[in-house]
């Protein structure tokens, strides 16, 4: 080992601090393809056991879809495993261009550029497009990758209160002296599953001469009547300047992301965005499978319709069972427990009952907002949700939280 024992001791202490704060993340080993029913080894070393998965971003259930797998195999055979290059040297195949064209048509934009992930797209886009003459005005709950991307840009950073249009308007008025104002938001917010009021945001952007940036990672493929995303759901297709999104959730669930939007903005990213310039191309196997995913999504709305129905059904089951939910219209359904210890115990007990969910608490979510985030999939059948609600009701009853609202839960369990 090159580093001194004091350094090793310091690093170990930091790990211990994370553990003591209850923030230590343990991986659970899945012995199956991603799906509604999976086999999970947890704790490590235990025999894998079957559980219903309610915590994947596999919204359309396409992660293990037979046609997607076949397209991936064909892509592997026809275009190989890796590109061993960045895009602009010798890493661009015909299918990369084909996928970018397909994404452009799907999202209703002018051009698209692939990145290794949406995390990379968000890390690269702001630095490539904006400098110290500009201001980025972000919703205070935007995704962590956006926060990192904004930090990498020399543009001034400002924020507005979550989904507060009055506050956003104040900020837009305040920054009229800047060359460019950019409103930065998620389409669907991953914590509460709430949807950004894009119609109002676009109206404000037009009134105050601002650009609109939306990360639609938790929306692409299913929000809106044909699954194009939050911009379709809110009736503002073609009026968003920059959309970033992922192929790692509804759109196949492997990896890869993109920046899509006005042609000149995308071209500037192609010339300047460092994660694009300095990391390898998205592998051919993923590109080929993503093309099939877009074909499937474009062929029918059956899967997004089923997802919508599953989310509605699951919300109804939880409400009837007496759980306290965050209201919303997305397939992210947070079950509110408010108390951190309670959230941990409930998720542990649900796992014992064969339901895989994760409890989240401070500082991952705000203090006193501990919850279990459940996520629906088109891969779920009614019988999965019926089995899941039996387990939720049993565990909820054991902990005495059924029928209780926030104040009652807080009174009983504290914050």
């Amino acid at each position: 080992m090159a580093y001194a024992s004091e350094t090793r001791e310091r690093l170990r202490r930091e790990i211990e601090t994370i553990r003591e704060a209850g923030l230590f993340k343990e991986e659970r080993f899945i012995h199956a393809p991603q799906g509604a029913e999976i086999e999970v080894e947890f704790p490590a070393g235990e025999a894998a056991r079957p559980v219903i998965n309610l915590c994947a971003n596999n919204y359309l259930g396409l992660s293990s879809h037979p046609e997607v797998l076949a397209a991936a195999h064909a892509g592997l055979d026809r275009r190989g495993y890796g590109m061993s290059s960045v895009r602009f040297i010798c890493g661009t195949q015909d299918i990369h261009r084909e996928l970018e064209t397909a994404l452009t048509a799907f999202l209703g934009t002018e051009d698209t550029l692939l990145f290794p992930s949406c995390m990379d797209a968000n890390a690269g886009v702001f630095e490539a497009l904006f400098d110290d003459q500009d201001v980025l005005i972000a919703d205070r709950l935007v995704h962590a990758s956006i926060v990192d991307g904004m930090r990498l840009s020399k543009a001034m950073r400002d924020t507005y209160k979550h989904a507060d249009m009055g506050h956003l308007e104040e900020k837009l008025a305040e920054h009229q002296d800047r060359r460019t104002r950019v409103i930065v938001t998620d389409g669907v917010f991953s914590m509460d599953g709430d949807v950004a009021p894009l119609d109002q945001i676009v109206a404000l952007a037009e009134r105050y001469d601002a650009m609109v940036f939306v990360d639609d990672s938790h929306s692409s493929g299913f929000m809106g009547a044909t699954g194009r995303g939050t911009h379709e759901a809110k009736g503002v297709m073609g009026r968003i300047d920059i959309i970033t999104t992922t192929l790692g959730k509804a759109l196949g669930g492997a990896s890869g992301g993109c920046v899509s939007g006005r042609a000149e903005l995308v071209e500037l990213c192609r010339q300047r965005a460092r994660p694009y310039l300095f990391s390898n191309s998205v592998p051919p196997v993923i590109v080929a499978a993503a093309l099939k995913v877009l074909e499937l999504v474009g062929r029918t709305t059956e899967r997004r319709d089923k997802l919508e129905e599953n989310a509605r059904y699951w919300r109804r089951l939880l409400t009837e069972a007496g759980f306290d939910l965050k209201a919303g219209e997305s397939p992210i359904v947070p079950v509110m427990l408010y108390n951190a210890k309670l959230a941990q115990e409930v998720s542990r007990d649900l796992f014992a009952e064969g339901i895989y969910v994760v409890g989240f608490f401070f500082p991952v979510v705000a203090k006193g907002q501990a919850r279990i985030r459940t996520q629906l999939s088109a891969a779920h059948e009614k019988h999965h949700l019926d089995r899941a609600i039996e387990a939720f009701a049993k565990v909820g009853s054991r902990h005495g939280v059924l029928g209780l609202g926030r104040d009652e839960i807080v009174a009983r369990f504290g914050l």
């Binding site: 972000a138 935007v142 926060v147 904004m150 914590m191 979510v365 705000a366 907002q369 985030r373």
Partner: protein, 73 residues
């Protein structure tokens, strides 16, 4: 608002030399004083700069707002 401004001293010979060298490489160089404001809490730290103390603090507050927001993948 009253802001604290400090008169900037003239560049030292060494600073002038470095600025000249950078200019020869095509850079337009300008140097100015900044307020640097730092917030620490346990192992966390955030830093911001501004031409005035108030500007630096305002930027620090916005940076902390983004950092303190709850986050899920």
């Amino acid at each position: 608002m009253v802001t604290a401004r400090v008169e900037e001293p003239p560049p030292s010979a060494e600073a002038a030399r470095v600025e000249r060298e950078l200019a020869e490489r095509g850079w337009e160089v300008s140097s100015h004083l900044l307020w640097v404001t730092v917030a620490r809490r346990g192992g966390e730290a955030e830093q911001a700069e501004g031409r005035t103390r108030e500007e630096a603090l305002a930027r620090l507050v916005e940076a902390l707002r983004l950092d303190e927001g709850a986050r899920l993948p």
